[in-house]
């Protein structure tokens, strides 16, 4: 496991604890935005992983949103 992955897991756990789904989108969008300069600088490993993390953040947001919608219904 690389340091990036450890940082990602910590961020995910913090965001889950905060229970604010919108934070997942901000985290995902930030990951994508950060990946752009890294790809440009050919820092492929970290850039690639950031995009994976972004996908995971968006997935978590959707799952939280759906759970909330389900509860409201």
């Amino acid at each position: 496991m690389k340091p990036q992955d450890i940082a990602f897991i910590i961020v995910v756990m913090v965001l889950i604890a905060l229970r604010r789904p919108n934070y997942f989108i901000y985290a995902g969008l930030s990951c994508l935005a950060l990946a752009i300069p890294l790809f440009t600088l050919w820092v492929f490993f970290t850039a690639q992983h950031l995009v994976w993390y972004a996908g995971f953040f968006f997935l978590l947001f959707i799952l939280f949103s759906l759970r909330r919608q389900h509860k409201v219904q």
């Binding site: 969008l29 990946a35 300069p37 850039a47 690639q48 994976w52 968006f58 959707i62 949103s65 759906l66």
Partner: protein
């Protein structure tokens, strides 16, 4: 204003098709009238689901109405693709930007550039089919549209129907909805019996291909990476050379940021969540066996019946394309300066597909005229009434004539050799002459590679490979050089 800007971009992208030259390239063939005259009135299994449109429409238009193939291909394939894609995506997205994204993204351009017009038509119909399936009204009309899409590519239909089923999962599955889909698929099945029944009863190439698909081939065909699929950039963009994968072009990630930023804006409707899910599912599956969790695709391929239809994972690009066509316009329309951001987006989009706007795409975007020596060769072969075959080294060139009376044999297939040097070694062997005679091969042809597809070094056309091949074939004592066909080497086998 936005509508006009979108139309200008679309006109510029597809302007190379406004020509009388043929667009034959990649999978898109060139047909001589003599070929079209051989088409049957009954759908032939070799053309699978495309038979009625490809075979019968072409026969009527080219053979009977005497419209040249170069015009027919544009009137009945390329132009309708653009119009259908624009209209169909507009019906789903209700946005000119949505139509722009759907019609000019790198995946769509690589499909049409590679000449996969059947897939392209099914792709163009997908938003319309999805919209009708989501609405669950007008059952007959929906069934007919689904049938039409199946007749262009059933794999794309399968993806569209699955996308609709996922939508039902979001809004609540009911028996009525499932019944609706079932009836539509049933109607599509009835209208497509012309290829389903013969396919089940024959050993058509596609059935063999599916049987031969292995996990190794899935891994080989998984060209795209997750960062490419989620940002809607085709791995072969822009050169479209099979297997040549490019580094990630990071500007495309801005598109993904725009699309997923739609989740921030309110109201977060079920549709927005649904399309975000579709984008993630599609991006995850379109990368095939590549990480992260590439094992999932292999597991699906191994255990899910019918998943072998998707040995080329890039078909799943359909999902992120559909999703981005809805999500990006939604995000822009949620801002206060819609017009400003729309124009800014069109500029950004034009930058990402700049190769298309600057006319730098290959394939069908590089029209060509049929070399006159190929027309002469066709006339030469047609003038001979006795049956025989021609052997093409290394393969039949796309303008090389072949008919039922004079079939063309690819040297690669006959010899089992993949390299040109291997083919030449086989032809120089002592049994070659006897083997060719026994197969009634009268001519060996070294094609003039006008499209740069046959004589390659590192995937690029190499004139020296062609020269050496021609030189070596010329030296074979039992071959007699025939006539004058310019750069095509035609050699009669002396029996």
């Amino acid at each position: 204003m936005i509508f006009i800007a979108v139309l200008i971009v679309i006109a510029l992208v597809f302007s190379p098709w406004a020509t009388f030259a043929t667009l034959s390239s990649g999978d898109w063939p060139f047909l001589f009238v003599e070929n079209i005259k051989e088409f049957s009135w009954i759908p032939e299994i070799r053309y699978l689901w495309l038979a009625p449109y490809y075979q019968i429409v072409t026969k009527i238009v080219v053979q009977y109405l005497r419209v040249p193939w170069e015009i027919t291909e544009k009137l009945f394939w390329f132009l309708p693709f653009v119009l259908l894609s624009l209209w169909s995506s507009y019906r789903l997205t209700k946005s000119a930007l949505g139509s722009l994204i759907y019609t000019t993204n790198t995946y769509a351009l690589m499909i049409v550039g590679g000449g996969q017009l059947g897939v392209a038509f099914a792709y163009a119909l997908a938003p319309l089919v999805l919209k009708f399936l989501m609405e669950t009204k007008k059952i007959m009309l929906t069934g007919l549209i689904v049938a039409l899409q199946v007749s262009f590519d059933p794999r794309i239909t399968a993806l569209t129907v699955i996308a609709a089923l996922i939508y039902y999962g979001f809004i609540g599955v009911t028996l009525r909805k499932l019944f609706f889909v079932g009836i539509c698929v049933g109607i599509a099945g009835i209208f497509n019996l012309y290829w389903i029944v013969p396919l089940l009863n024959s050993h058509a190439p596609i059935a063999q291909q599916l049987g031969e698909t292995t996990i190794a081939s899935i891994k080989f065909l998984s060209f795209a990476t997750f960062e490419q699929t989620i940002s809607l950039v085709h791995p072969n963009w822009p050169e479209n050379i099979f297997g040549k994968i490019y580094f990630m072009q990071p500007e495309f990630l801005v598109g993904a940021i725009l699309a997923f930023s739609s989740l921030i804006f309110k109201p977060k409707t079920t549709k927005v969540l649904y399309f975000a899910v579709i984008a993630l599912i599609g991006a995850f599956l379109a990368k095939g066996a590549n990480p992260p969790f590439g094992e999932v695709y292999i597991w699906l391929f191994t255990y899910v019946p019918g998943f072998s239809l998707f040995r080329d994972p890039s078909k799943f690009y359909l999902y992120p394309v559909l999703a981005f066509s809805v999500l990006i316009p939604f995000a822009i329309q949620s801002t206060k300066k819609i017009r400003f951001f729309s124009l800014l987006f069109i500029l950004f989009w034009s930058f990402t597909i700049r190769e298309a706007l600057l006319g730098q795409l290959s394939g069908t975007f590089k029209p060509t005229t049929v070399p006159h020596e190929y027309v002469r060769l066709k006339d030469f072969l047609v003038s001979q009434q006795e049956p025989f075959q021609t052997l093409w080294i290394p393969e039949r060139q796309r303008f090389g004539f072949a008919s039922k009376l004079h079939p063309a044999v690819d040297a690669r297939l006959l010899t089992g050799e993949s390299s040109i040097s291997g083919i030449l070694a086989w032809i120089n062997s002592k049994d070659a002459q006897r083997e060719l005679s026994s197969r009634n091969i009268k001519y060996i042809v070294v094609g003039y590679d006008s499209r740069g597809e046959l004589f390659l070094t590192d995937r690029k056309y190499d004139e020296t490979v062609y020269d050496e091949t021609l030189d070596q074939v010329t030296k074979i004592s039992w071959l007699h050089k025939e006539g004058e066909f310019g750069k095509i080497g035609v050699f009669e086998v002396v029996h």
